[in-house]
């Protein structure tokens, strides 16, 4: 049993592995179910009566979630008008901004990470920039882009690019020295050295950055929709809050959680596919 406890497992036969995966899934969701159950209980016991209106039970939230977002016709993939109006534009901006940040952040981070000089010029800027709350630079983006999609996308990009950049940078910096020697000996050009050695070696950290930044972009997507917006989950959330539509507000919060979970799982699939070697060399199991 202590093998389980230290997380070191080697090569279980397929069947055992499948069984484990299934019990893993079952376990995961049963824990989730228990958590929701406790929450349901808490809303009626722990929460003082005066505030109970602020904390509707999960059943109410679930019902609201369904009615507000997912009770649409089958022809619209069960999305309601609210969902097409608020969820889809948010999602598009979020994914667009995240993709832009990922590309720029990784390219910049990896190239900076392997060039000691360039990084010295920019590093202070990176730490300066990432400490600034995105909300406080919104005016600048308004000046540049008005209340356009570009403005919202840039708020998200501004908020998350630093994370991706830093992880890519750290990843590129901590490549096994012997592998870099190898690149030097075999006279790999800059581009080949990056693509064959540095990027794969940095990949575990790059993915860590991507995962952290993904949920961060959801947060910033919400933030970017607080100013001058006419749609979006953040817009919906803010309105629900202002009008004391608490179940609606909770439904949006839960929706954000679901969004994060789904996007993260998708990213995890990609990671698993690309980084099979890493999981195997490190003997990581799910």
């Amino acid at each position: 049993m202590s093998a389980a406890a230290t997380g070191i497992r080697t090569s279980l036969p397929q069947r055992r592995r499948l069984r484990k995966a299934l019990t893993g899934t079952a376990l995961r969701w049963s824990v989730f179910a228990v958590a929701v159950g406790l929450w349901q209980l808490a809303t009626r016991t722990v929460v003082p009566e005066d505030y109970q209106i602020y904390f509707p039970p999960p059943t109410t939230i679930g019902d609201q979630l369904y009615r507000t977002w997912f009770s649409g016709p089958a022809s619209h993939a069960f999305l309601t008008a609210t969902a097409t109006h608020d969820l889809l534009p948010s999602l598009a901006r979020l994914l667009g901004a995240w993709a832009v940040s990922a590309v720029v952040g990784i390219v910049l981070g990896v190239s900076l990470g392997r060039s000691e000089h360039a990084v010295e010029y920019v590093e202070p800027l990176i730490h300066f920039g990432r400490s600034i709350p995105a909300t406080t630079v919104i005016p600048v983006f308004i000046v540049l882009f008005k209340f356009s999609t570009a403005m919202r996308v840039s708020v998200i990009v501004f908020g998350v690019i630093w994370t991706i950049l830093i992880y890519a940078l750290e990843g590129a910096r901590s490549v096994e020295p012997l592998q870099l020697d190898l690149a030097r000996v075999f006279k790999l050009g800059r581009l080949r050295r990056l693509s064959l050695i540095v990027v794969p070696a940095a990949a575990p950290k790059i993915f860590a950055g991507l995962r952290i930044s993904l949920s961060l972009s959801i947060i910033l997507m919400t933030t970017s929709e607080l100013v001058g917006a006419s749609n979006g989950i953040g817009f919906f959330l803010a309105n629900a809050k202002k009008t004391f539509a608490l179940p609606e507000m909770w439904s949006a919060i839960v929706l954000l959680g679901i969004l994060g979970y789904v996007l993260n799982s998708a990213l995890l699939q990609v990671e698993r596919r690309i980084m099979g070697w890493h999981r195997n060399t490190r003997r990581i199991e799910d």
């Binding site: 096994e176 592998q179 075999f186 064959l196 794969p200 070697w277």
Partner: protein, 257 residues
């Protein structure tokens, strides 16, 4: 071909010297074995020749030009072979990827990689990943990679340390035949004195604390190399005894703190 002049190296400012006043000349096409006690600076010497570390003082010339950076047309088999294999590439790709710089197309690279893997007896493992191989197999992949690259100068740091006696002999012969066919210059670090005599045209013995050349023995064995007959030659037996004595002396030198 290679000329090391008055080379000294210390790893850090204050530290004691690892190498001191090394002088060494290697002709084109020569195969020089380097032996010496553990920690005497053999790997350090190879790394300075490869241009991977800059020596504290002294010069290295390759074909007349000063080595400032990693020279072209060089291959290294690192002592820490398992770390030098890239875990994200299959065995074949690990062997093939340096060939990109050689202007070879994908197919040619593959063919060359497969040929080299075959030479080290690993063609059956081409599609595996490094972490699926035993230690000895990994070491042979590193050797295959260096050979497939067809460098003008090949540096090998204890390349046969993890393989069994039989495979080791085959690899020794492989290196000899590669050298003969391709006009390669080879420096080979080894702990096996028999091996140093068997494969080397010369054996350089390094002493310790600090690392200095304490012997440079020319090997002149008659006839073709053959694992059984060559090792039975009286010249062979004599040489191994001589070199063994030198290493033994060096190993007994007292280590500085």
């Amino acid at each position: 071909m290679l000329e090391v002049k008055n080379l000294s190296h210390a790893y850090a400012e204050a530290a004691t010297k690892v190498l001191e006043n090394i002088d060494l000349k290697v002709d084109s096409g020569e195969l020089v074995s380097i032996v010496g006690p553990s920690g005497c600076g053999k790997s350090t010497l190879l790394r300075t020749i490869a241009g991977l570390i800059r020596p504290t003082s002294g010069q290295i010339r390759l074909g007349g030009t000063l080595v400032q950076d990693v020279p072209d047309n060089l291959a290294v088999v690192f002592q820490d072979y398992s770390r030098s294999l890239l875990p994200w590439m299959s065995v074949r790709d690990n062997v093939a990827f340096p060939l990109r710089g050689r202007g070879m197309d994908r197919k040619a690279r593959r063919a060359a990689a497969e040929e080299a893997l075959d030479a080290v007896g690993l063609s059956y493992a081409a599609r595996k990943y490094p972490w699926q191989l035993s230690g000895g197999m990994q070491q042979r992949v590193a050797i295959a990679r260096a050979i497939a690259y067809r460098p003008a100068l090949l540096l090998m740091d204890e390349p046969f340390g993890s393989v069994d006696a039989q495979t080791r002999e085959e690899l020794e012969d492989l290196v000899l035949s590669v050298r003969a066919n391709q006009e390669m210059t080879i420096l080979l670090v080894t702990h096996d004195i028999d091996e140093s005599v068997y494969v080397g045209d010369r054996v350089v013995v390094l002493g310790r604390h600090p690392g200095r050349v304490i012997g440079d023995v020319a090997v002149a064995l008659p006839g073709n190399h053959d694992q059984i007959t060559t090792r039975e030659l009286p010249e062979f037996v004599h040489l191994r005894a001589e070199i063994g004595r030198l290493v033994r002396q060096a190993a007994e030198a007292n280590p500085a703190a």
